[in-house]
């Protein structure tokens, strides 16, 4: 018993130290965003601002045409929400067919899709740009909304979840003469809500945080999402860290809020996905 308490004290101290390392950068970033440029440069190292100012935020958010942060934020919001909706529709329809319906070559096709997940995605980066360019999607939200829906992992996740739902329900409905679409909409869809929520959360955050791809398909400042915008901001305001902090914090607000409200699902889903894959 004594040994146990010693080890849990050691564990607790370790966690405290690590938590400090995880929190200090964020907190220091928040506090710095309320300092004036002058103060940061001249006052020496202070944790709290001597004088709390909002100028960094107002400068970024109000009448800002060279680095339109509000616009970037809205662009990202539109892209991420649309992408999430598209993924939900595509994935749930597809997973339903692989889980419940019969068609020739189903298993071969599904195994093939799974095998493609191991393929390194870096190889298709350059041609993907060309295809998006042919469609006229460069500098439009579609460039970020549609291609990501090609992913296979979410289908796998949802199919696996559906496979665990007893077939009795759909068989009963079938006897009553219900078609595939009715069974899908009325019976399966309500039952797979938990896994769809997980897919939605990860699609949204994945899309919001995407960095390399938007930096390739957007060069129009007005059209880009916030991740590319921040890169531009960093280039323009290298000498104004307080302003950059404000921009960075605004960019992480949506995923932070999502995490606050849906923490349980984020944490559960990690074990869900590894259970499926491992």
């Amino acid at each position: 018993m004594k040994k146990r308490t010693i080890s849990s004290v050691v564990a607790f101290i370790f966690l405290i130290i690590m938590a400090a390392i995880w929190l200090v950068p964020l907190l220091y970033g928040v506090l710095t965003s309320f300092k004036s440029e002058m103060e940061l440069m001249t006052a020496g190292f202070k944790i709290l601002p001597i004088e709390w100012v909002l100028t960094n935020y107002t400068e970024l958010l109000v009448n800002n045409t060279s680095t339109p942060l509000v616009k970037w934020f809205m662009n990202s919001m539109f892209i991420s929400v649309s992408h999430t909706l598209l993924v939900l529709v595509v994935v749930s329809f597809s997973a339903f067919a692989y889980s419940r319906l019969q068609f020739r070559g189903k298993n071969v096709l599904f195994s093939f899709l799974l095998a493609t997940m191991m393929f390194p995605s870096v190889v298709n980066l350059i041609p993907l740009y060309k295809i998006v360019d042919i469609f006229g999607w460069v500098n439009t939200p579609l460039a970020m909304i549609v291609p990501g829906a090609a992913g296979v992992f979410n289908i796998f996740l949802v199919k696996q979840f559906m496979d665990n739902i007893p077939k009795d329900f759909d068989e009963a409905a079938q006897i009553d003469g219900a078609g595939d679409l009715t069974i899908f909409m009325r019976i399966i869809l309500p039952l797979i809500k938990p896994v769809l929520l997980v897919v939605a959360l990860f699609s949204f955050t994945g899309s919001w945080n995407d960095f390399l791809w938007p930096s390739i398909v957007f060069n129009d400042i007005e059209k880009m999402p916030i991740t590319s915008g921040l890169q531009l901001l960093q280039g323009m305001y290298q000498a104004q860290p307080t302003l950059l902090m404000a921009g960075a914090l605004i960019a992480i607000i949506p995923t932070f809020l999502l995490y606050l409200f849906a923490q349980k699902y984020f944490l559960q889903s990690m074990s869900l996905s590894v259970g499926v894959k491992g």
Binding site: L15, F103, V122, I126, W208, F211, Q231, Q234
Partner: protein, 302 residues
């Protein structure tokens, strides 16, 4: 009679059913074909061509690969060497920490300490933030003159501008950003180990270290394999951290291959998409080989 009638009925039903099943999978298959399958095939083909992204590609056989591997005077030869070396250095430095740190955190959280949920949330949170925002925050933390690290330790280490500090900074940011997922996976795995294993070991007088290597590690072997492979693949695709934190410097010492690929294909000036594609294929092959090796070594032993 009845059976044959039923047979025709089911046969007819299954053909109509089949038709509707294809409608269900069609949206994904179309998107998959256009935005994954075609680009992959095209990407491999392009690596054997001379291409500027806009005009028709000209087939040049193995010329791009010859240039990259053997033409010592070529800038692309140097780029591939530098980029690939730096990518491997980064993977070798970052991956062990991305496995060990979350494993330690999970083990500590598994003692069910006070506030364990709060700790868990804190460590997981950064993985939901955009890399460009994270790098901006850490650029301030590492700042030579007014960054908190140098101020607290009263040093003037140019973290992002000199080696080996630039690598240390990149690994720190990467670990801070990415370990949340692995930690959750290990937590679930550790929770799944039956308590009587440890009780039996206690009776035999096993030490904590023995228990860790003889019970804990073998029990979570599957999850370790999974996380090692996935983390390695993710770190091979490193891009945002060196681009924005060190700018590939000092002296290109942190310029990773993906930065050269991006620069050659989409950078200012004429696009050299053929060479860039060949670089991408080389990077892809490296990723696949390393994953295969990891599978072989981590799986066989039981």
């Amino acid at each position: 009679m009845i059976t044959s009638m039923e047979k025709t009925k089911t046969a007819k039903k299954s053909t109509t059913k089949e038709w509707s099943a294809w409608l269900f999978v069609a949206p994904h298959l179309i998107i998959f074909a256009i935005f994954f399958l075609i680009p992959v095939v095209f990407g491999i083909y392009i690596s054997f061509t001379d291409w500027d992204l806009f005009n028709a590609p000209t087939f040049v056989g193995l010329d791009n690969y010859k240039e990259l591997f053997f033409n010592v005077d070529s800038t692309f030869y140097t780029q591939l060497r530098t980029g690939l070396t730096n990518t491997f250095i980064f993977v070798l430095c970052a991956v062990p920490f991305c496995i060990i740190v979350p494993l330690l955190l999970a083990a500590a959280l598994n003692t069910k300490p006070f506030l364990s949920k709060v700790f868990q949330s804190i460590f997981y949170m950064p993985s939901l933030f955009a890399i460009s925002a994270i790098v901006i925050i850490w650029t301030l933390v590492f700042n030579v003159n007014y960054g908190p690290i140098n101020s607290i330790f009263n040093t003037s280490t140019p973290w992002t501008g000199t080696q080996p500090y630039a690598w240390i900074a990149l690994v720190v940011v990467t670990v801070w950003w990415t370990i949340g997922g692995n930690m959750i996976i290990y937590q679930a795995a550790l929770n799944g180990i039956p308590k009587d294993y440890y009780e039996a070991a206690d009776i035999d007088g096993a030490t904590a270290v023995q228990k860790f290597f003889k019970i804990t590690l073998p029990s979570i072997r599957g999850q370790i394999l999974y996380t090692v492979v996935m983390t390695t693949i993710a770190q091979f695709n490193v891009y945002g951290q060196p681009l924005m934190l060190t700018g590939g410097g000092p002296n290109n010492s942190t310029r990773v291959l993906l930065m050269y690929i991006q620069q050659n294909a989409f950078g200012s000036g004429q696009s050299i998409a053929g060479i860039a594609s060949a670089m991408a294929v080389i990077l892809g092959v490296c990723i696949m080989i390393v994953s295969a090796i990891q599978f072989k070594f981590l799986r066989v032993k039981r």
